[in-house]
Amino acid sequence: MYAQLQVQNATEISSCLLGGLSRIRYAANMRELSDEVLMQRYARGDARAFDELYARHRAPLYRYFTRQVSDRATANDLYQGAWEKIIRARDRYRESASFSVWLYAIAHNHLVDHYRSSRLVQQVEMDDLSDHRPGPVEDVIDGEQNEHLLAGISALPEEQRTTLLLKLETGLKMEEIARVTGVSTETVKSRLRYAVGKLKRSLVE
C-alpha cells in the first residue's frame, strides 16, 4: 500500500515537472517566434501567443500614446482602445504584412480618430517653435535634462511628432513609417528633417 502511494506520488511529481518543463519549453519557443507567426497563432486561438506579442510591444506603444496626448487618462484609453482594435482585427491579419507596421498603423489611425473627434489637432506653424507652449509630455516627465527634449517633441506639429516618435520608439524603417502614416517615404524623410531641425534649435535655446 505504502509502495503504491509512493509510486503514485512519484508519478504526480514527475507529471508536474514535465508539465512545468513543457510550459517553460513552450514559452521559450514563443520567444523564438517572430511577431508575424505569433499573431497568426493568436488569430487561430492561441492566447499565449498574444501574451508574448503584448510583452514585446506594450511599452513602446504605450509611450507612443503618452507622448502624444495631454493627459495620462486619455493616453491609457487610447492605448487600451488600440489593443482592443488589434484583438478584434486578428482574423484580418496577413503574415505578409509586418506586424509592427500593422500594429502601429492601427494605433496611428486610432490616434488620428481621437484628434479628429476631440479637435485637438495642433496647428503649429512650421517656424513657430520659439512660441513654445507646454506640451502633453511635460506633465509626466521629471528631470530638467529630459524635459527639454520632451518639451521639444511635444511642441512639434502633430504629423512631425508622430513620425519622429514612430522612428524613435519603434525603430521602424522610413518605408514602414510611410506605410503606417499613409504617406510617401520622401514625405516621411521631410517630416523627420523638419522635426530634427526644430529639436536642435529648441535644445540650443
Binding site: Y42, F50, Y54, A59, Q80, I87, V140, N146, L192, V196
Partner: protein, 195 residues
C-alpha cells in the same frame, strides 16, 4: 548627379542625427502601462479566443426536442378535452347507480322498522304467508315513480294477505288492516275490507 549625391548626404546626415537623438531619447524615463491596464487587455485578448461551447452543432436537436414536447403537450390537452364529457356521463351514471342501490337498502331498513313495530304474531303470520312485510308507518309518502310502483305492489300484496287471513278466519287480519291503514292512509281499500 549632384542632386542625387546631395540627397544621399542628406539622408546619411539625417540618419546620423536620428541615431544620436535616439540615444538621447532612450535615456528618457521609460513609461510603462499600469499593471491593471495590462491585465485588462490580456483578459480581453484571452476572452476573444476562448472556445465557446459548440451549440450550433446540435442546435437542430434542441429545436426538435422543444417542438416534440410542445406537440406532445398539445395532444394530451386535446385528448383530455375530448374525453371530458364521457367522463362526466360516467360520473352521473355512477351516481344514479349508487342512488338506486341505496334505495333498496332504505326500503330494507324501513321494513325492518315496521317489522319491529308489529307484534310477534303478526310477523309470524306474514312470514308464514311468505309475503313482504307491510310498509312502516313512517315511510315516506312522496316517492319517486319507480319507488312508488314498488310501494303500491307491496301494499297490494299486503292487502291480499290480509284478505286471505280474513277468508281463512284468522282474526289477526283486523290488526293487520289497522296497521296497513296507519301506514297507507290514502290507499284505497278493497271492498272486502271496507266493512
Amino acid at each position: 548627379m549632384n542632386s542625387m549625391h546631395s540627397n544621399g548626404e542628406q539622408d546619411r546626415s539625417l540618419h546620423e542625427t536620428l541615431d544620436k537623438l535616439g540615444q538621447s531619447y532612450a535615456q528618457l524615463d521609460r513609461d510603462e502601462p499600469p499593471e491593471l491596464l495590462d491585465m485588462a487587455i490580456l483578459n480581453s485578448a484571452h476572452r476573444a479566443v476562448e472556445k465557446k461551447p459548440q451549440r450550433l452543432k446540435f442546435g437542430w436537436l434542441h429545436g426538435l426536442t422543444t417542438a416534440a414536447v410542445f406537440v406532445l403537450a398539445l395532444t394530451l390537452i386535446v385528448h383530455q378535452r375530448e374525453n371530458q364529457p364521457a367522463e362526466d356521463i360516467t360520473i352521473q351514471f355512477d351516481k344514479l347507480e349508487r342512488s338506486r342501490q341505496a334505495e333498496p337498502a332504505k326500503k330494507q331498513s324501513a321494513e325492518d322498522r315496521s317489522r319491529q313495530s308489529l307484534q310477534a304474531p303478526k310477523e309470524s303470520a306474514i312470514e308464514r304467508m311468505d309475503q313482504p312485510a307491510p310498509v312502516a308507518a313512517g315511510a315516506p309518502q312522496t316517492l319517486e315513480p319507480a319507488a312508488r310502483g314498488n310501494v303500491d305492489t307491496q301494499a297490494e300484496e299486503q292487502l291480499r294477505a290480509i284478505i286471505r287471513m280474513q277468508q281463512a278466519g284468522d282474526e289477526r287480519w283486523k290488526v293487520e288492516l289497522e296497521a296497513f291503514i296507519k301506514s297507507h292512509p290514502d290507499y284505497p281499500l278493497p271492498d272486502e275490507l271496507k266493512n
